[in-house]
Each structure stands twice: as C-alpha cells, then as structure tokens.
Amino acid sequence: MSIELTHPGCELLSGQPMVIKNVKNYFHIHTYGGLSPFFVGLREGRLLGTRCGNASCEEQRIFLPPRTHCPDCLSPSVWVEAPTVGEIYTHTEILYPGAGFKLTTPCPLISVSLEGVCTKMMSYLKEGQPRIGMKIKAVFNTEHPTHTILDLAWVPA
C-alpha cells in the first residue's frame, strides 16, 4: 500500500523565486464568557453595561463596553441597564474596510457618549449623516442576529 495525497496541494504562482498559494479555511470557537449578558441583552433589545459592585469604589459610573471586574478596585461588576439615548462623540465614514467587514459601505462609524457612562463605545449609525453632538438612540438587530457587536446600532433620536 502506498501513501497518497488527500489534498490537491498548493497553487504555483511563480517559478523563480518559487511562490505558492496556501489556502486556509478554518474557524475559531469564541466565548464571550462573563461578558455574555451584554450579547444576550442585544438579542433581547436591551443595552446592558456594568457598574463596580463595590460601593466604596470611587468609580460608580457605568462602563460600556462592559467589564467583568472594575479596573480600579478589581471588584466583580454588577449588570445595569445603560441609557439607550445619547449623542455622537465622534464619527467617521469608512470607505475601504478590511477583509471580513459585514456591513455595506460607505458606513458611518461613531463613538457614543451616554449620560452616566464613563466610556464612549464604538458603534455605527444605521441611518442618517453623523455629526458630533447629534442625538441618537439605540436600535437592535433582533430578527437576524449576527451575535456580534454589529447587532447594536444607532439612529437619529
């Protein structure tokens, strides 16, 4: 019995220097771990952030993106509803995204400022032209969820 190839091999692109095309096709299994409530929340149309669970910690504002532990005192966080109405802190319009981008282009990316939230999460504006200070509200892709951060978007409020 002789050993045979089970794969067609690599495509030869050039002879000298010899250059080959090595095609890859694989996936990763990724866990959201302790951040899962945020992504579960998106499927339910809820925007969840975290707050430090230690009442004596100086930082009592909401973190969004959420954090499993407070970065200041390392106490476990508690989950809270974050405001779903806020304003655009900054924006861009992306014309040439990298490979794997799942939205149509040009796509307005935004950073979102929310009352009581000490961070400014990145997201995208689903409708309208962005400008700094523009009032916006959260919308959720619950019908055909991607199970990623793309399930959260914003529209003019």
């Binding site: 220097p17 973190f63 992306i94 990298g98």
Partner: protein, 452 residues
C-alpha cells in the same frame, strides 16, 4: 479613574550605561518574494556587523554576544509561530538565550527596551535586537483585518476591520476640538513622502503637494490613502552593549540615555478623563483652562507617560531646545499631530504649530522623520521601532550620507539614486529621540540617544 501614585511615576534608571554600537536594515517593499524572512534578517544583521566601521570582525562580534531580543508584531502575517527561533538559527546564535517581544506597533521600541534592560542590569553585555515583519503573504485588505485583530475582538474589530477608521474617529474629534485645518495634516504626508525620496530603503517615496493629498481618495473620512502608513516587508537590526564592550566594538558608540514605556487601554472608548500629566517644561497652570477631556480621543496618555519618564531619565528640560532630531510613529497624519503634543513639542491643542512653523522640517529646530517615516518609508511593524532608532543613530554618528547618499546603496536595492536627492544629514546633531507606538495608543516607547 486613573490616579497616578508616587511609585507609578518613579523615574527609571539604568544600573549601567547602555550604548548602541551598530545598525543595519534591508530596504522595505510592499512585496519581497525574492527573500525569505530569515534572509532579510541575516542581511540586516550583516549590514550592522560589516558596514558600521566596527573594530571587530563579524565572527568576533558574534562571539561577544550573550543574549538576543527578537521583534515581530504578528505571527499571523508570517504564518509561522516561533519564527524567532528560525531567525536565531539562521544568524547562528544557538545556544544563546533569547526572548521575543510583542507590543503591537510598538514592538520595535519595546524590543530595544528589553535589550537595554539586559545590558543596563549587567545580565548581558552585548545584545542584538532583531526586528522584521513579512506583510506580503496576504492581500492588503486581509492585512488590514489582521492588524485590526489588534483591536478588541468583542467590541471593535467587527466595526471596520481597519485601524484607519479607528484613527479617523480620533481625527474627527481632534479637528472638532482644536480646529486643525486639513491642510496641516496634508503637509505631514507631503513632508514624509518627500523625505522618503532621499532614502534607498524607502517603499513609498513621492513628490506630492497638499492638493494631491486633499484630492486623494479617502480610506475613512478624513484620512486619505496618502495619509496612511505603508504595509511593508523587511528587517532591521541594532546592537546594544555596555560601556567596555561598546568601546571594544567601535570608536563611535551612541549612548541610549533613556528608553521608557507607557500604556493605555486598547479600546479608545475606555479612556476616562484625568488630570493632564505635565512634562518637565510645562508650567503648572498651562492646562488650568483646558476645555476638553484629557486624554480623550485627541491625546495619547501612553505617549505622554513615556515622554514624562524619558525626559526625566535623560535630563531633557525642553524637547524642542534639547533634541536635534526626531522620529515619530507617523502611522497616520492625525496621530503625528497628537504625538507632537503628547511629547510636549507644543501644548495640547497647538500641535499644528510644529509643522506650520517649519520647525519639524530639515533645517528647522527639530527635524522630524527625515527617514520618510511610516508614511513614506516603511512600516514592517516589528522592524519599525528599530529602523527609526537606526536612522537616528547614523545621524548622530554623522554617517547618514554613507547609508543614503552613496549610489551603490541604491543599486543594492535595484534603484537609481534620484536626481532630486537631498542630503538630509543634520549637522552637529547631538541628541535624538524616537517614538514607537501601538494600537490607538495602547503602548508607546520613547528612546533618547545621545552622542558621547
């Protein structure tokens, strides 16, 4: 809230002085199929050993080395884990100990930091720092996705798979707060593409105008293609040594008086406002009436922290006065303006003056990125921080022309020395600095080199 304590701001010190004795590098190309990564690193090391007027032979130098540091940003790009082991073998360094450093775009700077720590502590007395990146195995769009893997995969990467977009968010906010005209940003691209014309190592030399930049296609508003760094393949090597070893190797060692590191959250989103950390030359009331969040999206705390430590460590009282030459990590025009402020060339909000005044140009008080920088010359990420320090090293040794002006250097890379070549040697340069920068400012080093 970040509140810095006394221990956090302790000024680093070297137990023993650290010197740089040699520099070497390849040219940088979008695609480099002619050579394997190992060949590129051997070529860069050989230049360091053979072309820096050393008093020892390559073999003697190799026998003096007792520890090695390797610098590569992303295993994704080379598609080879433990690539450092192959390079260590190719350079014939086995069985010497080595480490590989990874801090994103600042990997080069941090690798030099690691080498310096080894020499400064007496752990080693001669350390090569070898950096490379092979970014030509994948199409540019895939390369950008790989780079965006160095954003938060849960909350950011999916939003563009493109670092330019993350910097564009900063650019829009910076312009809103500080009203920097697009023309000033464009000038940085014109300057650095222009200096790249006089470097045989450069990948993207261009004589362009501000109008060319303003009319160029946008990658992500407001940043155009001409305002973004290149994606390169190539290698760079430098060699560090303690005092006795340095003078055995060369009569012209350059002292590394400081190399310091700062960090901030990977996600720009997570940067909570804090009090401005003031540099040695900034008066107490300078930011009393500062109206914007700091660092916010307009400034890099990591760069400010690195500069704070490095200036104190090297005794820099005022960077524009005390430094003669600078290499910044000009990944994008906007990040360059931000960095001018973070390292105190101008107060926050006034970074544009460094360019508009002409100070940052050849012939100005503090010429910046005469190498062509990341926009004009190269960004083979793991090599970048080393390449920047190499260019400063040759400037301080007054050997810039040897490595840039000789027509043979150009022929080596299959190029012809251009008719509009300019001699960019800074006369009497005594002190230089280089900034290595990662993410949207997740890691930054500042190195300060000084002629002995």
């Amino acid at each position: 809230m970040i509140k810095l304590g006394h221990g956090n701001l302790r000024i680093p010190k070297f137990e023993k002085p650290v010197y740089m004795v040699a520099a070497g590098q390849t040219d940088f190309r979008k695609k480099y199929p002619e050579k394997t990564t190992e060949e590129l690193c051997v070529e860069a090391f050989s230049m360091a050993a053979l072309e820096n007027d050393l008093k020892v032979s390559l073999s003697e130098l190799k026998r003096m080395i007792n520890f090695c540091v390797y610098s590569q940003f992303a295993d994704h790009f080379g598609d080879q884990l433990l690539g450092a082991s192959k390079i260590h073998d190719a350079l014939g360094f086995d069985p010497l100990g080595n480490i590989e450093v990874k801090t994103g775009g600042a990997t080069g700077g941090h690798s030099v930091l690691a080498g310096a720590l080894a020499v400064a502590s007496g752990y080693a007395n001669c350390v090569p720092v070898v950096g490379w990146e092979r970014m030509d195995e994948v199409p540019t769009r895939q390369g950008n996705a790989y780079i965006a893997s160095a954003a938060c995969k849960n909350f950011e990467s999916e939003l563009g798979w493109m670092y330019t977009a993350y910097y564009a968010l900063m650019a829009q906010r910076y312009q809103y707060e500080h009203k920097v005209p697009r023309e000033t940003l464009a000038k940085i691209a014109v300057k650095n593409h222009g200096y790249a014309v006089s470097s045989p190592f450069s990948q993207n030399p261009m004589r362009i105008t501000v109008e060319d930049v303003l009319e160029n296609n946008l990658v992500s508003d407001p940043l155009s293609f001409l305002e973004c760094c290149v994606m390169s393949t190539g290698a760079a090597v430098l060699i560090l040594a303690d005092e006795e070893t340095a003078y055995t190797i060369t009569d012209q060692p350059i002292r590394l008086t400081a190399i310091c590191s700062g960090t901030h959250t990977l996600r720009t989103a997570d940067r909570r406002p804090m009090e401005v950390l003031r540099l040695p030359h900034e008066p107490e009331d300078l930011y009393k009436n500062y109206q914007h969040d700091w660092p916010g999206f307009s400034s890099f705390l990591a760069a400010r922290m690195a500069a704070y430590l490095a200036y104190h460590m090297a005794g820099i009282k005022n960077p524009v006065e005390d430094l003669d030459i600078l290499e910044t990590h000009d990944a994008f025009t906007i990040s360059d303006i931000q960095t001018y402020e973070d390292i105190g060339l101008r107060p926050y909000g006034r970074g544009r003056e460094f360019i508009d005044s002409g100070e940052g140009y050849y012939g100005g008080k503090l010429p910046a990125n005469l190498s062509g920088g990341l926009i004009g010359s190269m960004h083979a990420v793991g090599a970048t921080g080393i390449f920047q320090i190499n260019e400063i090293f040759w400037q301080l040794q007054q050997k810039w022309a040897k490595f840039h002006a000789d027509p043979k250097m150009w022929e080596r890379y299959g190029k012809t020395k251009p008719a509009d070549f300019e001699n960019l040697q800074v006369k009497n340069a005594r002190r230089g600095a280089a900034i290595s920068h990662a993410g949207t400012g997740s890691h930054v080093t500042m190195a300060i080199l000084e002629k002995v």
